[in-house]
Amino acid sequence: MSWNSADRTMNMLTRLSAYAISTLLIATGIDKLSHWFQFVRVLQEYPVVPASIPGAVGGLVVAVEFLIAASLLIGRTRRTGFLLAGGLFAVFSGVVLHLLLMRVGASCGCMFAFGDARATLPHVIGNVCGAALCLVLWRSNTQLPPHRADGGATVAPPVNIPHSSLERIP
């Protein structure tokens, strides 16, 4: 049994999601770098960031975003990239939720090119859905070749089986 249409659809969605999330992370990373001082200033107001090292934390965030984006673009590291992206979105969800509940009107530091947006409910929903999406895709096996763990795909015979042993099979 070869890949059915559901597998192909899932594989296409996996690639689409990887490219979309990667594009999002690269865009936000570049945006943070191009508005660096504004980003660092927002980080200084974050309760979870040590006041003495906002620049280092900012650099780490941008580096992680670029690293995950790159891993999502490379087929071999895509599943790991989904896991890391899910973790990143989960952290972002927690931070934005904290800002939304505890510091109404605070900037989320997400994207400065469109204005210094406040932390709002859509930010939380978007990040939670992003985390869930990444974890679902990480658990998915459709990125793998048709040797699936669930036994639903064809397993090709090893090429080094003696021809005579194959002939004994009725």
Binding site: A20, G105, R118, L133
Partner: protein, 76 residues
């Protein structure tokens, strides 16, 4: 579509719509203009971003840092 595919499609759509909604431009000028008794005067500061927002309320000019400009709605 099987169940997992449907879940992925729904999550992808909701995430996209939510992030688009979250990234919508939220200009201090537009917010200020909607406030009764307030008049947007202008911003001064950096080249590509507004550092300070000046609002006139009942003849009194008040300046706000735009990074914290979302204090402005509290004028209501």
């Amino acid at each position: 579509m099987n169940g997992k595919t449907s879940v992925v499609v729904v999550l992808l759509l909701v995430m996209t719509l939510a992030l688009i909604g979250a990234m919508m431009p939220e200009q201090a000028q537009a917010k200020t203009a909607a406030l009764p008794g307030c008049k947007y005067v202008g911003c001064t500061g950096g080249s590509d971003e507004c550092l300070t927002l000046t609002v006139v309320t009942n003849g009194i000019a008040v300046s706000y840092h735009c990074y914290s400009s979302y204090r402005v709605p509290q004028l209501q």
